[in-house]
Amino acid sequence: MIQIRNLTVDLGEFHLNNLSLTIHDHDFFVLMGPTGAGKTVLLDAIAGLVPVSGGSIVISGRDMTTSPPEKRGVGIMYQDYALFPHMTVSQNIRFGLRYHKIKPQRAATDFQNLTTELGIAGLLKRYPDTLSGGERQRVALARALIVAPQVILLDEPLSALDPGFREEIRLLLKRLHTHSAVTFLMVTHDFAEALALATRAAVIHNGQIQQTGQGMDIFHKPASRFVADFVGMKNIFPATFSGSSAVIENLKMVLAAPVSCPTGHIAIRPEDIMLSPAPTGLDDPDGTDGPDSAATGQNAFQGQITAIIDHGFIYELHVQAGEVVFKSHMSKAAMVDRALSTGKKTMVSFSPAAVHVF
C-alpha cells in the first residue's frame, strides 16, 4: 500500500500542493489529469527523484519520504522509455540485477520468462535505436519488472505509440498486472485508457487530487467543475434547483429527477446538445445526427450561433440562448449539409436525461 499524506513538492513550474492519496496493494491505479497537472511530478516524488518539501510517503508501512530512489523498490517507466542507448536490449534488462540479491539461477529463469512473455526474446542483442516504439516499451517494461519492484510507475505508457499498437500494449499491461503481485500506478490524459485498465482511478489538477473512485463513477458522476470539464462536459453552469427543474441565468429546464439542495451546477455533454435548423421546432428530415431528440426533448430554447470552432474532426458550435452559451458538437459533413454559419438562428434542445447535476 502506498500512503501519501499532505505531500508538497515545489519545482517552480510544476508542484504538488498538500496532496493525499492511498493506493492499495495490487491496484491498477490510473491517475488522470491535463498536461501540467503534476502527474509526472507525483511519480517522480514517489520514486524519490525530486526533493519533497512537506508531507510523507509511506510504502508498505515504511516511511520512504527521504529514502534515496535505489532503496524504495519502486520501478519507473517513462513516456520516452529512457532505455540506455549504449547497451543492448539484454544489457538494458539485466541492468538492475546486480543491485538486487537475486540468485543467478533465479535471475536467469526470470529473464527467460519475462522476455518470452513480452515477445522480445529475439531482440536481445540489438541496440535501442534499432527498435520500434512498441519494442522499446516492452524492453523498458522488462527492465523495470525483472527486479520485482513493489510498485511500478507508468508515465503515459501509451501516448507515444502508434494508435494501432496501443490496444496490444493495453492488453499486455492488463495481463502483466494480473499475473504479478506488483502494484501498478499509471498516469494518462486519456479517459479511454483509464476506463479500460483501472481498478481504481483519480483525477489530479493543479497539484491536488480532485476525485478518487472507479473510472466509470468519475465519468458519470463528476464531483467538481474541473472533473466535469475534464470528462468532456463542456456545458457547465451554476444553477438553482427546485424539485426536478433547474434555472440557469434566465432559462428554466426540466431534469430527469428531483434535486434536494437549492443551488449547484449542471453539466451537459456537447454531443447531447441538438441543433435543429428551424426556430419553429420543425424536424431536420435528413436525420443523420439524431433529430428525434429535438422533437421529443422537453428542453428546447431559441438561440443564435455565435462561433464555429474547428476541432479537426468535428466542429464545436457556440449557440447563445438568452444569456447562456451552449456548446454543441457537429460533424463536418452535417455542418456543410445544413449550411450553418455564424449569426444564424437555431433551436437548441437536449433531453432531461442528458443534464448532470452536482
Binding site: A47, L49, V74, G75, Y78, A82, F84, G96, V147
Partner: protein, 262 residues
C-alpha cells in the same frame, strides 16, 4: 537573398577581403620555408624538445581538467542553485584575463610572500622555470573550455536515464559511471581537445613562468628575436600543423555548431 542586388556583392567583396586577410599570411607562412628546411628543422633537437614539451604539457592540462573538471561540470549540468550564474562567470574568468597577467597572477601566489608559496616551498614544489609551472598555467587557461564543453555534453543527456538507473537500484555514483559517463565520452573528448588546443597556443603566460624549459611558442619567439623571421618560420609551421590537427579532430568530433567554441 537574390544575387542581383548590389548589396549582395558588397557582402561577397567583404567576405573575399576577410578570406584574403586570414589565408594570405597563413599560406605565406606555410609556403615560405623550403621542404628541405622543414625537414632539417625536425633534426634540430631543441625544436623537437620544445614541440614535445608543448604537446606534453597541454596534454597534462587536459588530463587535469578531465580529472577535477568533470565532477564540477556534472553538478553544474544537473543542479540549479542561487548564484549559479556567478559560479559560471568565475569559471569563465581565465578566458578574459590578458595572458601575461595570468603568469604574473600565478607567480604572485607561488612566491614566498604568500602562504601557498610557503607550503609549496616546504614541499619543494617550484613553479618558476619548471614543467609543473607550465602545466599549472596551461591548466588555468584551458580549464574553462573543458568545463563548458563537458557541461553542455552532460546537459544533452536526459536525467531520466539516471533516474531509471537509480530506480533499478544504482547509487548516484553507480548511475554516473555506468550511464552518464559512457554516454558523454564524445563531449569529454571534445572538451579535452579544446583545452589542449587552447593550452598549446599559450605564450604570454608561459613566457612569464618559464623561459626555460622552452615550449614551442617561446622557442618561436626566441628564434624570431635572436635570428629573424626566416629562422622562426619552420618551427612555426610545425606548431601550426599540430594545432590544425587538433582543430580538425574537433570539427570531426563536434559537427554541430562548433563555430564559436575553441
Amino acid at each position: 537573398m537574390t544575387r542581383k542586388d548590389p548589396f549582395f556583392w558588397v557582402a561577397v567583396s567583404c567576405g573575399m577581403l576577410i578570406f584574403a586577410f586570414i589565408l594570405l599570411p597563413l599560406v605565406e607562412l606555410v609556403t615560405a620555408p623550403s621542404v628541405a628546411m622543414l625537414k632539417q628543422t625536425l633534426h634540430d633537437k631543441t625544436v623537437l624538445r620544445a614541440i614535445w614539451l608543448s604537446v606534453y604539457t597541454a596534454g597534462a592540462a587536459a588530463v587535469i581538467s578531465f580529472l577535477i573538471g568533470t565532477p564540477l561540470a556534472f553538478v553544474l549540468a544537473r543542479t540549479r542553485f542561487p548564484g549559479k550564474k556567478l559560479v559560471e562567470s568565475i569559471i569563465d574568468l581565465p578566458i578574459v584575463i590578458p595572458h601575461p597577467v595570468v603568469g604574473i597572477a600565478i607567480l604572485g601566489v607561488a612566491g614566498k610572500n604568500h602562504w601557498l608559496g610557503k607550503i609549496m616551498a616546504d614541499l619543494s614544489i617550484r613553479l618558476m622555470g619548471s614543467v609543473s609551472g607550465i602545466i599549472v598555467v596551461l591548466t588555468f587557461v584551458g580549464m574553462p573550455f573543458y568545463i563548458n564543453s563537458v557541461k553542455n555534453g552532460f546537459e544533452a543527456i536526459s536525467p531520466r536515464l539516471e533516474n531509471v538507473a537509480r530506480s533499478l537500484g544504482a547509487s548516484m555514483s553507480g548511475a554516473f559511471f555506468r550511464i552518464t559517463f559512457p554516454l558523454a565520452w564524445r563531449s569529454i573528448l571534445v572538451g579535452m581537445i579544446m583545452c589542449a588546443a587552447r593550452a598549446i597556443s599559450e605564450f604570454g603566460a608561459v613566457i612569464i613562468i618559464s623561459y626555460h624549459p622552452m615550449t614551442a611558442p617561446v622557442l618561436i619567439y626566441e628564434r624570431f628575436e635572436g635570428y629573424g623571421l626566416e629562422y622562426s618560420q619552420p618551427v612555426a609551421v610545425w606548431l601550426v600543423l599540430v594545432c590544425l590537427t587538433l582543430f580538425l579532430a574537433l570539427r570531426i568530433l563536434a559537427p554541430s555548431a562548433p563555430g564559436n567554441r575553441t
